[in-house]
Point group: C5
Chain length 154, copies 5
Amino acid sequence: MTIIGIADTTFARFDMGAAAYDELIQHTSAKIIRVTVPGIKDLPVACKKLIEENNCDIVMALGMPGGKKQDKICAHEASQGIITAQLMTNKHIIEVFVHEDEANDEKTLAYLMNKRARDHAKNVIDMLFNPEKMKNNAGTGKREGFEDAGPVRL
Amino acid sequence: MTIIGIADTTFARFDMGAAAYDELIQHTSAKIIRVTVPGIKDLPVACKKLIEENNCDIVMALGMPGGKKQDKICAHEASQGIITAQLMTNKHIIEVFVHEDEANDEKTLAYLMNKRARDHAKNVIDMLFNPEKMKNNAGTGKREGFEDAGPVRL
Amino acid sequence: MTIIGIADTTFARFDMGAAAYDELIQHTSAKIIRVTVPGIKDLPVACKKLIEENNCDIVMALGMPGGKKQDKICAHEASQGIITAQLMTNKHIIEVFVHEDEANDEKTLAYLMNKRARDHAKNVIDMLFNPEKMKNNAGTGKREGFEDAGPVRL
Amino acid sequence: MTIIGIADTTFARFDMGAAAYDELIQHTSAKIIRVTVPGIKDLPVACKKLIEENNCDIVMALGMPGGKKQDKICAHEASQGIITAQLMTNKHIIEVFVHEDEANDEKTLAYLMNKRARDHAKNVIDMLFNPEKMKNNAGTGKREGFEDAGPVRL
Amino acid sequence: MTIIGIADTTFARFDMGAAAYDELIQHTSAKIIRVTVPGIKDLPVACKKLIEENNCDIVMALGMPGGKKQDKICAHEASQGIITAQLMTNKHIIEVFVHEDEANDEKTLAYLMNKRARDHAKNVIDMLFNPEKMKNNAGTGKREGFEDAGPVRL
């Protein structure tokens, strides 16, 4: 039985984990396990524990780095840790980060956090159950949360 | 029996380890083990030793990076090491850093170092004994040391 | 039997994986395995899985980092992960990244993504089957996608 | 029997290893093993070899990064490696770096390199033989090479 | 029997591997194994393979990062990987990088690439066969490729 992990934070200003969960259950009957940690730098080991202690096949790591310079450094550290966690487990951890300064107002921020969590939940479904669809979309300029950029042509 | 580790530094200008200790003992009878190292770059292995040699279930890594550019790089290196230490042990290490330039005067700096250490001590308690409370706070814009940012809405 | 892996992304705006595949099959009858992931930060573990779970002898990791500052950080994180994946497996993973801002217009971007993927596919062939040719080209200022820079002389 | 390692470089412009050695032997009869490498980026593995091949209980890694931008990057790389080496061995490696641009003239540079090496040698002694003294100095704003910053108060 | 590895790139604009080889054979009868890869980011695993698959006791990693901002990031990634490869193998990998913008013209660039490769080849000889000479030069301000900076005095 497939198990999907969701790790998110109390720091984020929108419940991205709930959005991801809501999207996932519309497409799969896989078991879903959620855990919440304080901030994004706590996500790498939380995801690794979901994989190694809870047998998750794939994990979504959701977070909202703040807009200040120091927050960008934290996001970088978290991302490196998430990549290392994947290399140590041979499992995908889909990072779903929305930087607070990607949106100009709170409503747009909430929209973007909700949309990107859901778009990446669909990626998780395709990676697990429909890898051919992923291959068919190779190089087509897909985006999560925003409009697709689309392909360029020779 | 639960064991909580506290690692801090002689470089910091406020005894964050004592603040964390004082907060922890108000909420738990878990065993607490303290160690002090010179600076924040000595924290990653100190935390890993607390986990592997002293059997700590979770560790708080407390430090005060200076305000200069080189200090910021040291903080980044320490943070990466703390994340790696977690991935090598599958245990959480809660990083509690207050950058010296987060406060404009010494009294505010002391206030912030004390408050953030205590707020994160409460996170440690919840992560150990009340993970459901953490989940309920997912995406609500919690902050440590400062006022909560609060959630944004669709 | 030699197995070559190709990992690319849905984020990229040109099907670099198809270009690499097309070039490879002109020079080798090796088995080729393709996988597509959402973005470049998903490439490190995808490549490691191709090596460890699909027995690839070498992998091409193809991607198109965006032109914004945050995209550059993502590219850096992906590159570090790709290097770590190689060190964990003792196999080469040839990174083929075209930064979106390397080209001034979409047609040039497509040209560059196609050309660099093909040039590096030839490198992969030489690394696998003709290492002496690689040695003969040591220090000669080869470039992929662009004109060669050529050697400098004493 | 306690063994202390000292690793330093030919790049540095003052014999920090000799200063550390001279200070150590005034406080301990522990065995001391020295090794010298070309530059700071050679220090991480030199320290790890001192620990794993020469059974050192703790190592001092002494170096003088140059003042140029590229030198700062080298220092960062060396520091990350030193932290990783500690995590791989569960032993402390005390990094003693003096950046060439911390001093305005050569005499001050020599003073600082000598003083910081000696101050950190004393830290090594306390970490090995007097950890309670380290704990008593937690959060007191100690500095090595410079005047102590001292504590801040609520 | 001592085995020395040499890894270099087709990207570099001067055959640093040949210069290193030529210098090494003037001072030792050790076996020398050469491998050439496309760029500097391919060096870390190439060096690790030389150590683990070809039993090299030490490796020289020679490369010429370009002068653009992105090239500097690649150099940083390669350097981190080279340090990690050393930590995974407990063998020294002497990084010999000449940044293209260290020289103002092509002739000086060639001079510097040749000279630094040869100077570091001498370091490799001393590290292998004459570690006491390295210790005697500790803190004396040695440089490779350029004039020595020399020591500073108290």
